[in-house]
């Protein structure tokens, strides 16, 4: 017997009975005998093709995954490696071999404590010890700019389908934006724009579960940019 108990994109809480039968399990669910329960507060999704049930969480800390791009802050410089805070429960390590082409004595000359880096997660083991990679473009140190923090579970919403949302923001504000899968966003733009982008990202973070967000964001950005430009003209006249 196979049965789905809740609707697509329905909000579920931990312990909600999702399905009965031999479905494959995605994230955010657990099986007890024949029954499948949610373990997270999130939205329910069912994949017809793969017969897979999963819950996409609305809250939660970042867990490193191989292949993710993240923004980290150097926490410690040891004799042979850096320890990097990647906004997770666990520190990641960065080996000089995956950061530099040449050998160097003093690691703090390359990345010092407090530096921001853009990196790829190269390797993660069972207990979430992870290694980062910064050797090639576009990875490396982030100079200047501002850092915005959002919930890691909202990152897919900020990026949008095939990058539609983030591409639109970059185009309209003519700025540089890097999004880490760990919920840290680096923004570099003129100071007026920087504030606007921060506000926009905040808005997306707070309304991530509502639909039609890309259009709403576009409308908001366009009206705000007009205001900034009018203000700029006004200042020029004076």
């Amino acid at each position: 017997m196979m049965e789905i108990m809740v609707g697509e994109r329905e909000l579920v809480v931990p312990g909600t009975l999702l399905a009965k039968g031999k479905y494959s399990l995605g994230g955010g669910v657990t099986r007890e005998g024949e029954e499948i329960f949610s373990t997270m507060l999130g939205l329910f999704y069912f994949n017809e093709e793969r017969k897979q049930v999963r819950v996409v969480p609305l809250e939660g800390k970042y867990l490193p995954k191989e292949g993710d791009t993240v923004i980290g802050r150097i926490e410690k410089v040891l004799a042979g490696k850096w320890l990097v805070d990647i906004n997770s429960a666990y520190l990641a390590s960065l080996d000089p071999k995956s950061a530099l082409h040449d050998r160097i004595e003093d690691l703090s000359k390359v990345y010092d404590v407090g530096d921001l880096i853009f990196a790829k997660v190269d390797y993660v083991d069972e207990i979430y010890n992870s290694n980062l990679f910064t050797k090639s473009m576009p990875y490396g140190k982030l100079r200047g700019g501002a850092l915005v923090e959002i919930k890691p579970t909202r990152v897919p919403r900020l990026i949008g389908k095939k990058g539609s949302m983030i591409y639109m923001i970059k185009q309209l504000t003519r700025s540089k934006i890097l999004v880490g899968q760990n919920g840290l966003v680096w923004v570099k733009a003129t100071s007026g724009m920087e504030d606007l982008i921060k506000r926009t990202i905040e808005m997306i973070n707070n309304q991530a579960h509502s639909s039609g967000l890309t259009d709403k964001t576009k409308e908001y950005l366009e009206s705000q940019i007009k205001e900034i430009e009018v203000e700029g003209d006004h200042n020029d006249e004076m």
């Binding site: 931990p14 312990g15 657990t30 997270m40 939660g60 429960a89 069972e126 207990i127 579960h209």
Partner: protein, 231 residues
């Protein structure tokens, strides 16, 4: 004819809860938080983590370490409570950790620590039940994987009657108090304490009454969680 009316000190029926208000996500700095107003009890719960384990030797490489801390504000009771941990709050912290741990999938976060802080702003009997209820909401709000929600409620014996959810006067003058916490989905009991004297039958009656109370608390918890996202 003499009419005997059996009412409790605040006019509730024997199987009636006090009014309970719950709110999720009230503190910005915590990873997850909740506020529960249970009659005259006012309780905040905050969850931090999963994060680095301090002190380091408590780390386990097969599961997360759960730390629960219960504390009462100096102004929460009639006589000023001396701030800081004491025998009672250490005990309640420990039983709360025991009540919550079976619900949390600690194995998902090895080598880390989940910290649950429960602060009582105003106390009126039944703060540990309110604390567990709030802590569960805060854990869910922090996105920590759970097998189900933990709901807690107390029952007791006052004037030879088994009643649900004792208030301050009943707790002080009553004969027994039974706080209970269950995993609402399976009705597994995760916390059961008894203070006072009751017969075996009375204990059974008190238990089934408390489980009924937990069920209505469970409904309120679900509503509180869903209302955070406007449903």
């Amino acid at each position: 004819m003499k009419v005997i009316t059996m009412t409790r000190c605040d006019g509730r029926k024997n199987d009636e809860l006090r009014t309970v208000k719950m709110e999720v996500g009230v503190l910005n700095r915590a990873d997850g938080s909740a506020y529960v107003e249970w009659g005259n009890n006012k309780v905040y719960a905050a969850v931090y983590g999963p994060k680095e384990v301090i002190p380091r030797f408590l780390a386990r490489n097969d599961k997360a370490y759960l730390r629960c801390k219960y504390s009462m504000a100096p102004f929460s009771v009639e006589d000023r409570k001396r701030p800081g941990p004491d025998r009672r709050s250490v005990e309640i912290g420990k039983v709360m950790a025991g009540a919550l741990a079976p619900a949390i999938i600690l194995e998902d976060y090895p080598n880390s620590m989940i910290e649950v802080l429960v602060d009582v702003m105003q106390a009126d009997a039944g703060t540990r039940c309110a604390g567990i209820t709030a802590a569960t909401l805060a854990l869910v709000d922090a996105g920590i994987p759970m097998r189900g929600l933990v709901s807690a409620c107390a029952s007791g014996k006052v004037d030879d009657q088994i009643v649900l959810d004792l208030c301050k006067e009943e707790d002080n003058s009553g004969q027994a108090d039974v706080p209970l916490a269950i995993l609402s989905r399976t009705e597994d009991i995760t916390l059961l304490q008894m203070d006072g004297i009751m017969t075996e039958e009375e204990v059974d009656e008190a238990l089934s009454l408390a489980i009924k109370g937990c069920k209505s608390i469970y409904q309120m918890q679900m509503d509180a969680l869903k209302s955070k996202y406007g449903d």
